[in-house]
């Protein structure tokens, strides 16, 4: 097939909602867009292990300790599936890791906020995993096959995380005055950064247009954000917590909530490295990588010795 026929074939598949598979021809920009998006997603899972990992050694009961450890382990597993999905596009895991550690690749800005109390484990599960699900449910129908399939697997675990997080929050909200204050404080701190997770309004989002055209993305940032807000407000009310937004109001006509605008200046600062924990998060991954260098070298040396023996 010549170039025009290949392109027509690609467009045709998209039009019929068929998945694009690794061996299929695809436009260079489609491939680049996917590598960027999937690897950012993978990095977010892996860096996302750190803020919650911060409370594993202090979880207040044996059950909470086990559930949190299992959750953080799940997130690492998501990172692995996604790195594999990215590898099907012709980039190596090493290169992806290098992009993260050199600061070239981005990850979700939410993980650059600190976890200051136990209630943050509730807020992250409930809000951050909740927001991630909005995006990921949509991505189950994304046009690239390996990415869509990874999402199906991941979504099941994410909804479990969200329920666990909400459960932590509801226990705290129904607990002692200190516990309730802890829960409200966590909600106050995580609410706006969570809304920013959906990204700026699509009108201001450079990558959105292509992503929609290629059916990588099937809904706009604003649509997803609105759905998240509509879903979350009643959940907060149910456990007696207050959303920190004075402009929040039910809008009968649109059958949804009107809500305030996140501070996009803060968002830009965090994205450009000036969030409260950017240095710590990347620093922790860099330190782990450097500290582990002798281990990886030893494993490689051992393996090549065995090969010599076998040969």
């Amino acid at each position: 097939m010549d170039a025009t026929a290949l392109a027509a074939n690609f467009e045709n598949k998209l039009a019929k909602n068929e998945n694009i598979e690794p061996k299929d021809w695809m436009p260079d920009n489609y491939r680049k867009h996917l590598i960027r998006q999937i690897s950012q997603h993978a990095h977010s899972e892996v860096v996302g292990m750190l803020p919650e990992g911060n409370w594993i050694t202090r979880a207040p009961s044996l059950r909470r300790k086990m559930v949190l450890l299992a959750k953080v382990q799940d997130e690492g597993g998501h990172g692995l599936y996604l790195y594999s999905a990215a590898e099907t596009l012709g980039i190596s895991r090493e290169e992806l890791l290098h992009q993260l550690l050199s600061g070239k690749a981005k990850y979700s800005s939410i993980f650059n906020y600190p976890t200051l109390s136990w209630a943050d484990m509730g807020a992250i599960g409930w809000l951050v995993d909740g927001a991630a699900i909005m995006n990921q449910v949509m991505l189950q129908r994304t046009s690239y096959g390996p990415y869509a399939r990874a999402m199906v697997r991941i979504c099941k675990e994410e909804s479990f995380h969200q329920r666990q997080g909400y459960e932590i929050m509801s226990v705290l909200a129904a607990g002692s005055p200190e516990q309730k204050a802890m829960a409200q404080d966590a909600l106050n701190r995580f609410w706006w950064p969570t809304l920013m997770m959906f990204g700026p309004s699509d009108a201001n989002s450079a990558n959105s247009e292509n992503a929609i055209k290629w059916k990588i993305k099937r809904e706009s940032n604003d649509q997803l954000r609105q759905r998240f807000v509509n879903q979350t407000i009643p959940q907060a009310e149910l456990i007696g917590l207050t959303i920190p937004d004075a402009q929040l109001k039910w809008n009968e006509a649109k059958q949804g909530y009107d809500f305030g605008e996140p501070d996009w200046e803060e968002f830009n600062q965090v994205i450009h490295g000036n969030g409260p924990c950017n240095k710590e998060r990347l620093g922790a991954r860099l330190k782990a990588h450097d500290d582990g260098k002798w281990v990886r070298e030893a494993a490689a040396a051992y393996a090549s010795k065995r090969k010599l023996v076998a040969a």
Binding site: R58, P60, S61, L62, M66, L69, G292, A298
Partner: protein, 252 residues
């Protein structure tokens, strides 16, 4: 000490060791040499803390004073913990953690395989599940011990240093109270001396493949059964119990 107290303390010894070792392993989450190993450490940690949880649950029944699993884990001080000294040592480098793990896993496999035959049905049930888990853990920790011991010059030196550091706590793994012998006689408890040689043989084989040498002049540290620990346990508990103790008596 009556028989009930003896059994209670016996269970605590096992539970505390698994909790503290699991806690140490869980510290690797987010900080490992490769993502796969962070997940593997978390997995083993989950198994160990799960074992501790089941054992604490049984201990509360045996004690019959209305305490909960969390009361046992979060409201005792370091002098009341009976975990072995190996478990509480700081995680060190990745090789240190894997070597310590191998020494403990080899013990657990033999210990649980004997405890599976306990006349106490709850203990034998917990042991049967834990035995399978320990076998898996041992395969993993032995293979890392071997690879790092026989890897590069640097890794070999690091591993030999770790072994020199850890070996002095290995006698303490096998410590038993005089009172435990009563439980051994009634078929409830395991006499650790019965598998001491098997442990040494197993561990020596792994270390030999790892080209590591067991130190011959190590002075053996003891005391965990009397709640005399190294200074590290106090800090571990201060961290682990801080939030639970900060707001007492609430649900989490």
């Amino acid at each position: 000490m009556n028989k009930q107290e003896t059994l209670f303390n016996y269970i605590l010894r096992i539970a505390d060791s698994q909790l503290i070792l699991g806690h140490r392993l869980s510290e690797w989450t987010g900080h490992g040499p490769m993502l796969e190993e962070e997940l593997a450490s978390a997995n083993t940690a989950l198994d160990l803390i799960g074992q501790a949880n089941s054992l604490y649950a049984y201990a509360t029944q045996v004690e019959g004073k209305g305490r909960t699993e969390d009361d046992l884990a979060y409201l005792r001080s370091e002098r009341e913990f009976f975990n072995h000294l190996l478990s509480e040592q700081p995680r060190g480098d990745f090789g240190f953690s894997m070597l310590r793990q191998m020494l403990c896993d080899a013990f657990d496999v033999l210990f649980y395989s004997a405890l599976m035959k306990s006349s106490d049905n709850t203990l034998s049930g917990i042991a049967a599940k834990a035995y399978k888990e320990s076998q898996y853990h041992l395969r993993h920790s032995s293979s890392w011990t071997e690879r790092l011991g026989d890897g590069t010059e640097e890794s070999h030196q690091r591993m030999q240093n770790s072994l020199n550091e850890l070996w002095r706590f290995t006698d303490d793994l096998f410590a038993m109270r005089a009172a435990d012998l009563e439980l051994v006689n009634t078929g409830i408890a395991v006499d650790t001396s019965s598998f001491r040689e098997a442990w040494f043989k197993q561990v020596s084989e792994v270390l030999e493949r790892a080209t590591l040498t067991i130190p011959t002049h190590a002075f053996m540290q003891k005391g965990s059964l009397e709640g005399r620990h190294t200074e590290h346990l106090g800090y571990l508990l201060a961290e682990m119990q801080s939030l639970h103790r900060a707001i007492p008596g609430v649900k989490w």
